[in-house]
Symmetry: C3
Subunit: 305 residues, 3 copies
């Protein structure tokens, strides 16, 4: 699986939580250009009433798949300080980039006395978003890059769009920093289409029970616990599909699934995604084989669930 | 008050958060068998659109009482590890039980280097739920058993059903692990019956201000604070009732009341329940006298509030 | 800006979270007496279905401004212990006041072995609310008093009422202790008037980037991050207004904006308020100049946003 130009494109666009306008615009334009060539042309919902979220409705949907488009990063504070957005892994060798009214910014950051400082030669405007400069490496069946969390999940759903007949695809915001877009999206989807089945298209961690090149991960729980009855249906289908997958059981971490769990709608959720190393760093790492399995599993489940 | 066969039955059924299908099925069957002999036969709501939650509507309801049916436990991870569900108190002498595709499981667990390991001689399937083996002891006016939290609260409401004329009874899920069922239930109840008064039927802790055999506990606050105006109305009625009760004021802990507090409906809530020792262990302890007072207080309040 | 009698009045009324009946009654009476002399007489919503919250609707609203009326304080526990409400700064020289069935209470409190004890000569009824005794000092352009958080925000909106043509003003409860009133208020406001623009009228902290007498603070983020697109519109207007303002970027702290962020409505929010020192103490300190700028900024933004 050589890297798709589309994956490269979405990896090149910044979108720190709360500041997703650029990646949103790219995705809307991509959908507008491509959707007429898809098996089914979806109805597209976006714009000010959706903030930077995007909803695509194909045919007669039974299941919704969510992928968040935002990434971790930093907000510029005072006195050359930076405040984290989400939980970025600070590596003093990594470059951070951004832009304020005075121009382009490229700098490094370091931790001193519990505060993070940038080394840009001039003051940067308060509130400016910075995130990792992108460098993509491909080697030996792996991709290493910033923002794989969660441009992998976004890419997976964009591939799914090409063949999807019935279902809803959502590109959401704010996942990395406290959430807040999902409650609106869940309400919109449940109230309009009565959807009670959800999948979370995102990346998870390589651990002692989850490894590279063993297939897509189906998570049985993280900090939150999906409903056993729903999980069992998914596992039955996953077995039937013949697609390689591995089971995850974690005590920590969470995803957009959390907000479905806490929503006032009887919507089930399950996290399904590729595992990665170096999460939230400028050099996240995913195996292409796992990504391929992820894409196939979503195609299978959206069709059969 | 000798132990009721019904209390014994519901104490014998497992129902770890997220995996409540069995206890849900028992409760539905119990209601279907018994409700025609109750003073008022309620309308029963359950099934896939309610997940494992159950709602009973009696007459013209003014007040809703909630009891969660789930318990703490463990999820099986990898390499013989267990991950907690809720906050179980691990006692290395306690047996844990469960079942996977290969059969019945009975094992002990111990904490080593910050991880919990089971000692079952074979690997257990990932994601399997385990919880305490049940042993019920009765002695000197006390009951000791696993799952008193919150089968005591469930039992209280099942007894209430026998004489209730107007009110809503809810058996809910997921309370021990992050919640998530309550938002849906509150919405359903408020939007259909406009209910603005709630009681939480659950167990609390023996502390320096709350003791055994002093009556049911009315909680003035825990981590969350119910509205004073509502609390005052309940205390006025509790005084009038003549039923022994004690007042609780805590900084920590919370209940399904938390989700009512945070819901988008102007619904008041108050926690009322028996105190217990050894919370979340395999040997929780409650005094029958306090349980009797709890049952009487719910009968009084559901009638007079 | 000499102290307004109105500010003095609302500073003299207690309203610990959950126990806001008195301050609510004062505000309702004030509105009923004054609103006919305002530029536009608003429609007033309050009463049992609103708990202690108050909503005023002026003309054709596009934007809503929220100010919480509750304050930090303490709940009386057992054995002369106190439990905090919100995060009050305990100063052993400060007097706490309250009232129970036996009469007026005035005492001090001290921290011993991690617990807070009052020194009142008799037991105080469980569940009684205590809060700081009020002493107002004016000096050199500053006001020092208890409850400036958030009677400053309430005062700001009461002044705004006098000239407001189109907009919604909300006085809310429970902000200092876990929230829970906002979800209902947001739902009410969005579903009835479709409002998607919100301002949070509250006080923030003096820090290394935010100082006294530099104007009202527009917060670019705290623990939660408002949407950049909305923030940019506000900053553009703030620039145009000519009113002195300063920009805040914090990693911690939050406001009623948090609950808008997490609500299921596409409503934007931005925190705008005066900075203070000695937050949550009996001697909070605010500069009149910053308060003046706050009042002017709200008048400008509610008109132009």
């Amino acid at each position: 699986m050589p890297m798709d130009i589309l994956l490269k494109e979405i990896l090149s666009i910044q979108g720190v939580s709360g500041d997703e306008a650029k990646i949103c615009r790219f995705l809307v334009e991509y959908v507008l250009q491509r959707s007429s060539s898809w098996k089914v042309t979806p109805k597209l919902y976006f714009g000010e009433k959706f903030h930077e979220n995007i909803v695509l409705v194909f045919g007669k949907p039974r299941t919704v798949a969510f992928a968040h488009m935002d990434t971790v990063g930093f907000t510029v504070r005072y006195e050359n300080q930076l405040v984290p957005v989400g939980g970025p892994e600070l590596d003093e060798s990594a470059f951070l980039i951004g832009e304020d009214a005075q121009g382009i910014i490229r700098c490094k950051a370091e931790l001193r006395d519990g505060n993070i400082f940038h080394d840009f030669p001039r003051a940067i405007q308060r509130g400016t978003s910075l995130s990792f400069e992108q460098h993509i490496y491909e080697d030996d069946g792996f991709i290493e890059a910033a923002y794989l969390d969660n441009r992998i999940g976004v890419y997976n759903l964009l591939k799914l769009c090409e063949t999807l007949e019935d279902g809803i695809i959502v590109f959401s915001t704010y996942e990395e920093h406290g959430g807040g877009a999902m409650p609106f999206l869940i309400k919109f989807i449940y109230e309009n289409w009565g959807i009670r089945q959800a999948l979370i298209s995102d990346v998870t961690w390589v651990t002692d029970g989850v490894g590279f090149n063993k297939g897509v991960v189906v998570s049985m729980r993280d900090r939150y616990i999906p409903r056993k009855v729903y999980l069992n249906r998914i596992l039955e289908l996953a077995d039937k599909s013949g697609i390689p997958y591995q089971l995850e059981v974690e005590a920590h971490g969470s995803s957009d699934g959390r907000e479905i769990q806490l929503s006032p709608y009887p919507m089930d959720w399950c996290f399904i995604g590729a595992p990665e190393e170096n999460a939230h760093s400028h050099r996240e790492k995913v195996a292409y084989f796992d990504l391929e399995c992820m894409i196939k599993m979503y195609q299978y489940l959206m069709c059969n669930l």
